[in-house]
Amino acid sequence: MTTAILEMRGITKTFPGVKALSNVNLTVEEGEIHAVVGENGAGKSTLMKVLSGVYPSGDYEGQIVFRGQECHFRGIHDSERMGIVIIHQELALVPMLSITENIFLGNEHARHGIIDWNANETRTRELLKQVGLSEDPRTLITNIGVGKQQLVEIAKALSKEVKLLILDEPTASLSEKDSQALLDLLLGFKRQGLTSILISHKLNEVHRVADHVTIIRDGQTIETLGKGEISEDRIITSMVGRPLEDRFPPRDPKIGEVVFEVKDWSVYHPIHAERQVIKGISMNVRRGEVVGIAGLMGAGRTEFAMSLFGRSYGRRITGEVRLNGKPVDISSVGKAVDRGIAYVTEDRKTYGLNLIDHIKHNITLANLGGVSRAGVIDDLREIDVANDYRGRTNIRSSSVYQKTGNLSGGNQQKVVLSKWLFANPEVLILDEPTRGIDVGAKYEIYTIIARLAAEGKAIVVISSEMPELLGVSDRIYVMNEGLLVGEMAARDASQEKIMRAIVRGEGIAS
C-alpha cells in the first residue's frame, strides 16, 4: 500500500495585512505525481516556499511531516538535505557556465577544494542520460534551448539525491513537443519510485500525468481529487469557485473595412545577417476583427510582430505597412504608437513592465502625453486614469500604488494591457496574451479582447495554444519558418487543419 511521503497540516502564512495561506493541508503519497493547481495568487507558490524553507520554520503556523519526521526547515539547504528539490519557473542556471558546472554548482566533486572535473563530467553524462538529453557536458547553458535547460535543471535535482521533486510551471515556456517529452520523463521517474509535485496551469497536462490533484483557491485547500475524479471541468469549477460554462465570452463580430495591411514584409536576423527570419509576409486585419496567428515555437511570429512595431527586431527590414489604406511610417516605436499601433509583449517581465515601479506609472508610460501638458504631468489626472483602467481591466491590487513586481502573472498582464489600452491604439497586437496566467484571468483577458473588437479595434492575437486561437479569433493565419503557410476562417478551422498547414509548409501566394 502507499504511504504518505509528505504531509503538510494546517499551514497558515500571513504577510503584513494579507493572509496568504489559511489552514492548508496537502498530503502527497510515496511514488505519485501530485498536481497542485489554482489561480495565480491562490497561494501555490507560497505553499511551496513554505515547504522548501524559503520561509523559515516559525514564519508560518502548521506542521510539515516528511518521511515520517516532523521538519523545521530554516532554509533551502535544510530541505535539500532531506531530498526536497524545487525547480522554479524561472530557471536558476548560469548562462555562461557549462552543463557540468551548472549541475554541480556549489556541490562539486572535489578533494581538498580542488575540483575533479573528470569525475564531475562522468557523473554529468550519467545524469544527462537519465533525463534523455544528448548534449556534450561542456556545452554552455546559453547555447541550448529552454527545453533542454529545463532538463539540465532536472538533472541537477537528480544529482542531489532527490526524494521529492517539485516543478513550478515546468512547461510554461516549452513547445508542445518539449512539454510532452518532459511529462513522459516525469512518468518515467514515477515508475522508478520518485515522487513529484507538479504545479501547472495546463489542465490537459495535469489530466495526463497526475495521480492526485489538490486545488487551492484564495489561500485555502478546496479539495483533493483522486485519479478517477480528475476532469478538466471539475478542476476549473473548483479553481474559480463557480461553474464555467464557456471558456470564451460570447461575441457578435461586426467586421468592417481593412484597417491594417502588411505587404511583402521581410526581415533578416539581427546577428546572423544572412539568415532571413521573415520571408515576404502579406496580411491584413479589418475593423472589429480578431485575427489569430498560429504556429510552432520558432515560426517567427514574435519576430514578425516586433519587426512591425517600430523595427524592434531584426535588420534589413523591407515591405510596406498601410493603415486605413495609406502607407505609414512606423520605423520607430514612438511613430508606431503615434499612428495607433500597440504591441503587447509575450514576455511581460522583460519587455512589458517596470517591475520596481507601481501600477500607476506603468499604465501611463506609453501615453504620458495623455496625462501631461507641455511636459508637466498632471498628478490628479494620472491617478484618475490609473484607477479607471484598474477598474476596467479588473486588476486585483490594494491600490494603484502597488508595485507591479508584487502582482500575480494575470494581474501583471492586465497592467500591460491597460498601458496599451490607454495609448488608445487602432491596431492591437497581442503576443501570447494569456501565457502563464490562470483560467479565471484568461477569461477576463478574452473578455477584454472581445470588448475591444466590439469597439471597432483591429486585433491580432499570437498564441501557441490552439484552442485559445480557435476560441477568440475570427480568422487565422498560420506561420511556419518565417512563411505564411495558411489562412482560414476560424469557424472552418480546427487544430488538425492548422497542423496540416504547418506540416505541408508551403507558402501561400501573396
Binding site: 517596470n354 504620458l368 491617478i383 477598474g391 486585483r396 490594494s398 498601458k419
Partner: protein, 432 residues
C-alpha cells in the same frame, strides 16, 4: 467617481475598498516614507551630535555659511548624479571635469587675452556650455555605442584630470580670480531691504565696535526665508487638499503635519542664523533654485518619469516608445553642465584654479546619492534624498574638522556611514 468612460460593469471592483484596507494603505504610506523621514532625522541627529561635540560651533552662523560654501558643489553635482544613477549608469569623471572647467575658467579670465570674453559672466556661460559638450561626448559613447558608463567615465576621469593639469602648465595654480567671479562662492546676497538692528553692538574703549556683539538682522534674507517656508507649507497644504477633494489617497494628516512642521522649523532656524550673520550666501540661493528645479523635473515632468522608467527596465521603456538613447545622452549632458558649475564654484571659493581641484569629489558625490537611497541597479532615487545625503556628508566633514579629527579617520567614518546607509536600505527592502 470618474468612470463615465467605462462601459463595463466590472468598473465597480476598484471602488469597493473597505475601511480596513484604507487603514492598511495609511500604514504602508508610513512604511514607504519611513526611509525619507529617517534620513532627515539622521541628519538632524548628526547635526545635534556635532553641535554638542564641537561645543556649539556647528550652528554658529559663520560656520553654517562655511558649511554651505564648502559643500555646495557636492550637492550641485549630486543633482546630476542622481539622474545618472537612476538611469542605470555612473559617472566617475565629474571631479576631473570640475577641475578642468575650473582651470579653463581661470585661464580665460586671468591668462588668455580674450578682451570682452574674459568677463566672468561670459566665461561662466562658455564654461557651462563646454561642460555640456563634455557630458555629451561621454554620453555619446554610452548611449549610441553601448560602452559601459563605468569605462567611458573612467577614461574621462583620466583625460580631464590630465587636461586640467596641462592647461595650468604643469603643477602651478592660476589666479587670483576676479572678485566678481569669487562672489559666486564666497559672496552674500546684498541686503536690499536694509538691515534691522535689534541690539546695537558693544563699542569698546577705543571707539570700535566689537565684532560679533549686538544683534543685527539681514532683512532680505529673513524675508526670502519666511516667504520660502510659507510657500512650502501652503503648496503642501494645497496639493494635499486637492488630492483629498478628488477622493485620492493622501498621507495621514498627522504625518503630513509633523513632517511640515519639522522641516519648516529647521528651515526657519537656519534662515535666522544666516540673517544674524552676513545674510544668505549666493551659492546657497543657486543651490536652492537648482534643487527646486530638479525636484520638479523628477516628480512632475514626462522627461523625469522616462528616466525612471528607463532605469527600471530599459527594454520595456523602449517598447513603450521612449527614445532611450537620446534620453541617456541628455542625462549625461546635464551631468556635464552641473559638473562644470561645480568646477566654477570650487574655483570661486579657492580664488584660483589648482591642479587638484575637485580631486576625489566624484566619490563624495556618488556617496551622497547612495546615502540618499538611490539604487545601484537604477530606477530608484530621490532628489531630496540625495540633497540630504550630501548634507550628511558635509556636516560630517565640517564637524569632524572642527573636532580636529584626522583627515585619515574622517575617510574611515564617511566610508562606514555610506556602508551603513546602504546596508540599512537593503535590510529594509528584504524585510518588506
Amino acid at each position: 467617481m470618474s468612470t463615465e468612460t467605462a462601459p463595463s460593469p466590472r468598473t465597480t471592483v476598484a471602488e469597493d475598498v473597505p475601511a480596513a484596507s484604507r487603514r492598511r494603505l495609511a500604514m504602508s504610506s508610513l512604511v514607504d516614507n519611513l526611509r525619507d523621514y529617517g534620513l532627515v532625522l539622521a541628519l538632524i541627529v548628526i547635526m545635534l551630535f556635532f553641535q554638542y561635540t564641537t561645543g556649539g560651533t556647528l550652528f554658529k552662523p559663520v560656520n553654517l555659511s562655511n558649511l554651505v560654501q564648502q559643500n555646495s558643489f557636492i550637492i550641485v553635482m549630486a543633482l546630476g548624479m542622481l539622474l545618472v544613477i537612476v538611469a542605470g549608469h555612473i559617472d566617475l569623471s565629474v571631479g576631473s571635469v570640475a577641475g578642468f572647467i575650473g582651470a579653463l575658467a581661470a585661464m580665460m579670465m586671468v591668462i588668455w587675452p580674450l578682451g570682452i570674453f574674459s568677463n566672468p559672466l561670459v566665461v561662466s556661460i562658455i564654461c557651462l556650455a563646454v561642460g555640456g559638450l563634455i557630458g555629451g561626448a561621454q554620453g555619446y559613447w554610452i548611449a549610441y555605442h553601448r560602452i559601459p558608463s563605468f569605462i567611458v567615465t573612467l577614461a574621462g576621469m583620466l583625460i580631464f584630470r590630465g587636461w586640467c593639469q596641462a592647461l595650468l602648465g604643469g603643477g602651478s595654480s592660476v589666479g587670483p580670480l576676479p572678485d566678481d567671479f569669487k562672489a559666486l562662492s564666497s559672496g552674500f546676497l546684498p541686503d536690499y531691504v536694509g538691515s534691522l538692528e535689534l541690539i546695537p553692538p558693544t563699542v569698546n574703549a577705543a571707539g570700535k565696535t566689537i565684532i560679533g556683539s549686538g544683534l543685527t538682522l539681514h532683512m532680505t534674507t529673513l524675508i526670502i526665508g519666511i516667504v520660502g517656508v510659507a510657500a512650502y507649507v501652503l503648496l503642501g497644504l494645497r496639493a494635499r487638499r486637492s488630492r483629498v477633494r478628488h477622493g485620492h489617497e493622501a498621507e495621514p494628516l498627522a504625518l503630513f503635519a509633523g513632517k511640515t512642521v519639522v522641516i519648516g522649523l529647521l528651515a526657519l532656524f537656519l534662515v535666522y542664523q544666516f540673517a544674524t550673520y552676513k545674510g544668505v550666501p549666493i551659492v546657497l540661493l543657486v543651490m536652492a533654485v537648482l534643487i527646486g528645479v530638479f525636484v520638479f523635473l523628477t516628480k512632475q515632468t514626462t522627461i523625469g518619469r522616462r528616466v525612471y522608467a528607463m532605469g527600471g527596465n530599459v527594454k520595456a521603456a523602449q517598447l513603450s516608445g521612449i527614445k532611450t538613447d537620446r534620453l541617456t545622452l541628455l542625462v549625461f549632458v546635464n551631468m556635464g553642465v552641473l559638473s562644470a558649475l561645480g568646477g566654477l564654484i570650487i574655483a570661486a571659493r579657492l580664488g584660483q584654479a589648482v591642479p587638484a581641484a575637485g580631486l576625489g569629489s566624484e566619490l563624495d558625490v556618488i556617496a551622497a546619492v547612495f546615502i540618499g537611497g538611490a539604487s545601484a541597479m537604477g530606477g530608484v532615487g530621490q532628489v531630496a534624498g540625495s540633497v540630504v545625503g550630501g548634507f550628511i556628508m558635509g556636516v560630517m566633514n565640517n564637524g569632524m574638522s572642527i573636532m580636529g579629527v584626522n583627515v585619515d579617520w574622517q575617510q574611515v567614518v564617511k566610508g562606514l556611514v555610506l556602508l551603513g546607509a546602504v546596508v540599512f536600505d537593503v535590510y529594509n527592502k528584504n524585510k518588506g
